[in-house]
Every structure is written in C-alpha cells, then in structure tokens.
Amino acid sequence: MGKPTAASQRAFQSWGRYPKSEPTRIVGIQDRSSLPEFAGGKSTVLAYGQGRSYGDVCLNNGGTLLSTSALDRFINFDPDTGLLRAEGGTTLADVLVQTVPHGWFLPVSPGTKFISLGGAVANDIHGKNHHVAGTFGRHVTQFELVRSSGERLICSPDRNTELFGATIAGLGLTGFITWVEFQLRPIESDQIDMTTTRFRSLDEFLSLSEAANEESPYVVAWIDGLRAEGRGLLMQGDHAPAGPGTSLPSTLPTRKARLSAPFDAPGWLLNPFSIRAFNTAYFRKQIARVKRTRIHYDPYFYPLDAIRDWNRGYGKRGLLQYQCVVPFDDSNATVRELLSRIAGSGAGSFLAVIKTFGDIPSPGMMSFPRPGITLALDFANKGERTIRFFHSLDAIVREAVGAVYPAKDACMSGESFRAYFPRWEEFSTHIDPAFSSSFWRRVTS
C-alpha cells in the first residue's frame, strides 16, 4: 500500500484544491483480482490515484471515488528489455526506485514523480521530451480495463483498439485501469547533463528551442510571466553517459521530501511585488549567458517534489493553472498576445513554463499535446477575477485553434472544451455508463 504523497490527497482533493469536492463514498481498491461492483451503486464512480491533477478531472463531486493508492504492485519487470507491467496505482516514484538501478528510465516524465500509472494513461501526460518521444500513451504496450459490465479487456495497439485510443487521455471515464504495461528507456547513469541558456525575447526562445530540440531529448524553458517580451532561461538536458563520476545507483535510496509547507500561506504572500522580485532574481542568478552543469535526475525532473505540499503556498483558496498549446504560425502572434495579457494582468507566477511540442501523434483520441507552443502558468485563485481572466485567454486560444490541458484545468467552458477536443463526441460513445467526473459534467452540461 503506497503512502499518500500529499495532504490534499488524504482529503481526496485535487492538487489545485479548487474546486472543493465532496465525494459521497471512498472505496479503497486493495487488489486487482477482486474489484467492487461499479454498477451496483446508485452514484457514479471515478478512479482517484494521487490527486496530482490540478482541477477537477480527478474529482467526482457527489459520487464515488475508487482510491487506487493500495493498488501498487509490480506484476513483471524485465531488466533486460525494460518492459514493465504494474498495477494502476503504482507511482512513477516507485517505478524509478526499482528501475533506475537496472539502467531504465521513464519514457516520458511529467514535473512530478508522485503520479500514478493510471493517471499517466488517463491524462496522457507529456514531458520535456515531447519533441522526440511524444506522450506517455505512445509507450504503453497494453493495459487492462475493467468495465462496469464486469468485462476485463486487454487493450493494446492491436487489441480492443478503439478503447485503447479512448482510454489514453480518456480522463478515467472509459472504465477502471487495473494495470499498465509500458516500455522504459535505457540510461547509463542517474545523472543529467544540463545546459541553461538565457534568452531575452520570444524570438530568441524560439530559435534557441529549435536548435536545442535537435541536440537534446529534454528541452523546457522558464519564462518571466510578468514581462511581455518573453525573457527566460532555456534548459536542455540529456542523460549523462557512464564514465568517471557517473554510474547507476547500486543501492535503493528513498529520498524524502526535505521541506514541506505545513500550513496554508497567507494570501498576500504571492503578490506582484514578491513575484517580480523572485523572477528578476531568478533570471539574473545566472551571470553567464550559457551555463553547463551535471545534476541528479531527481532535482532535474522533479525540483518541486522536494517541497512536500507546495500547493499550500498558494493559500486556502488554492491555485489555478493555465496550460494551453497554440499551433506555430509565421509571427507567433498568439503567444505574444497571451504573454502580453498575462504580463498585463500582473498575476503571473513563479512557475511559468514554455516549451514547443513536436509532431509525434498520440494514440489517444483526446490527447492534449499537438504541434505548437505550450505555455503553463500557476495563478493564485482570486475567485471570479481569475476565472474571467482565464476565459479571456480561452478566447485567444480558441481563435488560434489551440487547446487547454484538462489535467490542469478547473475553468474552461463546455464550448471551449468542444472546440479544443473536436473528437469529444466520438470519445463519449466509449465512456462507461457507471463512470463520470466533476470535469466531465462541467464541460458537457
């Protein structure tokens, strides 16, 4: 039985702690051989893993949540081929501890390792290597889906292909994922060689990013959300080769969170002044334009995991994240417009990320990433004001035929959702009648 990784998870809330949710029942799934009768209850069900999605895709207000934190067994791991099969509640953190010593790493990794495999499939997560690896769903070889009819279906690119395509990025609505099998990628050490390059404009970011995408499997940039011109730091990285000073860990360390936010920060802590001071300091901390370092994969991929419950830093009302993607165009006017709106709002945060997505397609019909530029920003939840602001961004993204990421969303309208995910009607025919979520009801009502 895995440990809960956050206070918000123990309360069965989402990472953004908005919207607040009250499930009527929590059912702890203990093992994959005996599952409850999903259709037996009067209310709808939804699997809840680690609760690291930001908005309401992991919530089922007024319904039942099937907690998967105890469903965390490995089923098979082949250290020669890097093929891993594990139960749906297994966390990426747990996978890494077991596979890195054997020279295998996650094919795709998000910004936190505290997510479940089921969640990785249901949200078809992406990472810094999207331009070379695509989404997580591309590396899934098969999974088992249990439907409320009691059917157990093996879904793969060759079997039950429609449900395979609907379940990847299917937001947990097509049934219950008992286990996932996927292909890991080989590594020679647990270190990352990283190069950080400063940029002073969006154009500079785009040309740097284009070059970096050719050179490195991992590329992402931090951008100063308070400045419309788009200054920031581009970080590219690759797994360090074996050699003097690098190797695979021989023992199995358990790295504990060193810091934690034990209580909610007061709402005034994050204000335009403190954020501006932070962003300027962060931008300037690097004196040289280009800096090369070698660091362990953990601080490289998961810097925020070191601060347990960091979401509490945004105060009681929680945080809202906005992540969108807009297609490339000649002048990238859309991204400029978004950046200028965000800078103008003065509400931009510490954690603003910009990256270009590649053109590797996902098997998931509802997958979020598509070729273009993606922006992700955290905002303290200021209620109606923030939501109205998000809707104004949505208008721009819709106009550009872009999309917003459901896993991070708590605000998009049904109209926006249907525009972002044109295959939603086809998808909805694959939804299991016993399954629903707060998100789904919000965007389809």
Partner: protein
C-alpha cells in the same frame, strides 16, 4: 542472503514488511489463504528484487496442516530460516462476538490459538538453529480489555503474553522474539472505520517491523507514541476504568 517466512502475507502491513526484505534480495516463503492475492504479492516482490519467492496456501485455523507448513519451510530453506513474521488476523464485529459464543471462540481461535500453535512449531525450529528472529503482530488492543473490543483485545493480549514468555525462553538460544503492537493502521481491516490523524500508513508500519526484526527488538509500539498512550490507559484504576466508555 536472508531467508524469510511471512504468514499472512496478503495483509497490507505484512506485504510492506515483505517489500523491505525483497529489495535486500531476500528469499521469501509467503503463506496466505487466497491464492490469487498471494500470487499478485509474490510477483510484486519478485519484480522488486527478491531472490526467490515460494508460496504456501494455508488457512491458519486448519491446525492439521501446520506440520505441512513446517515441512515446506524445511524444504524451501534447507540451510535455515532467518526471519519469521506472523501477521494475520481478523477484526471481529464486537456486537456479534459479545452475543454469539461460537463467533467469540472463532475470533479467538484465529487471532490467538492458531498463532500460539504456529509460534510453538516455529520455536522448535529456531531453538535448534540457535539463531534467527521471530516477530508476531499483536496490538495495542491487547494491553487492556475494553468494552468496545475485548474479544479481539483478549486474543491479542494472549499473543503478547505468550510471546513474552517465548522471548525469555528463546533468548538463551540466540533467537529474538519481537512483539509488534500497532495502533490504528489504514488497511483493509479498518476499511469501515472513519480515518483520523491517529491512523498510521501501512508502508511506515511495514518498514518499522522490518527494522525491529533486523535489530531483534523486544516490544515495539507503532507509532511509538502508543507506548505512552497505553501506559496511561493501563494506569487507570479499574473502578474508574469500568465507568469509562472506551
């Protein structure tokens, strides 16, 4: 590499303790009633680094098969057994066992009599070896009889007392006997009880048991604060205690 016997291997706490042994490359013999659940746990431990896993299906109340289990231990680990953990149990419905004598005896058989029988078998094996560690999961509920839980508490109290005597006997042979007394743990056993801050995580409890067995500790409360809590509860005079609704 060490050899480990886990009886009640499908319990959430036992599985977490087993994982700690598995990552060290231990060889494990897992014992439980439900074959499908046992196999799922065996696969998990194998993938996590166990050197070998054997399984044995047993209902602990089937006393006639205890000898067969001991034979399986011998044949699986001909060079001896390093660690044995007894981790099974059921939490009876107090209202039922308060009214139904058969149910009360059944609960006692599962939680105490069968444990005592298995410990007696194991004591013979370890005494001959002159080394090794035995651990048994008792409970804080065994420290004092309470109206809300006295059948379960009496069984766990019997196990604690038995283990205490066995510990003194085995100490002369270089064998440790650890009594594990968890408080509330968030496991399937307590699925129906609303959770509060007192509930411990099975991963933490399993890790603590593993450590206690490695160190050959005597009595371990998990989490440690229960030692103080139970100290206070045991100190309350009976004439006061019987009026309390605990």
């Amino acid at each position: 590499m060490s050899t480990v016997l886990i009886i009640g291997a499908t319990s959430a706490i036992a599985h977490e303790a087993s994982r700690r042994f598995a990552v060290e490359g231990a060889r494990l013999l897992l014992v439980a009633r439900n074959e499908a659940k046992l196999q799922a746990n065996a696969d998990d431990l194998m993938a996590r680094g166990a050197s070998s896993i054997d399984t044995f299906i047993l209902d602990a109340n089937d006393f006639d098969r205890h000898a067969a289990l001991m034979e399986a231990v011998h044949s699986t680990f001909p060079n001896g057994l390093d660690h044995a953990l007894l981790a099974y149990g059921t939490l009876p419905d107090q209202t039922e066992v308060a009214a139904d004598a058969d149910a009360a005896v059944d609960a006692f058989t599962t939680n105490a009599t069968s444990v005592i029988a298995l410990l007696t078998h194991l004591a013979g094996l370890f005494e001959k070896q002159e080394r090794g560690a035995i651990a048994v999961i008792s409970s804080v509920a065994g420290d004092r009889g309470r109206p809300s839980n006295y059948v379960y508490g009496a069984a766990k109290g019997a196990v604690s007392l038995f283990a205490q005597g066995l510990r003194a006997r085995m100490a002369k042979h270089g064998v440790s006997v650890t009594t594990i007394k968890p408080g509330f743990v968030d496991t399937p056993m307590t699925a129906d009880i609303p959770k509060n801050r007192l509930f411990a995580d099975p991963a933490d409890v399993g890790a603590r048991i593993h450590k206690a067995m490695k160190k050959g500790q005597d009595v371990v409360y998990i989490p440690a604060f229960w030692r103080c809590v139970m100290g206070v509860i045991k100190a309350i005079p009976e004439r006061v205690f019987k009026k309390l609704d605990l």
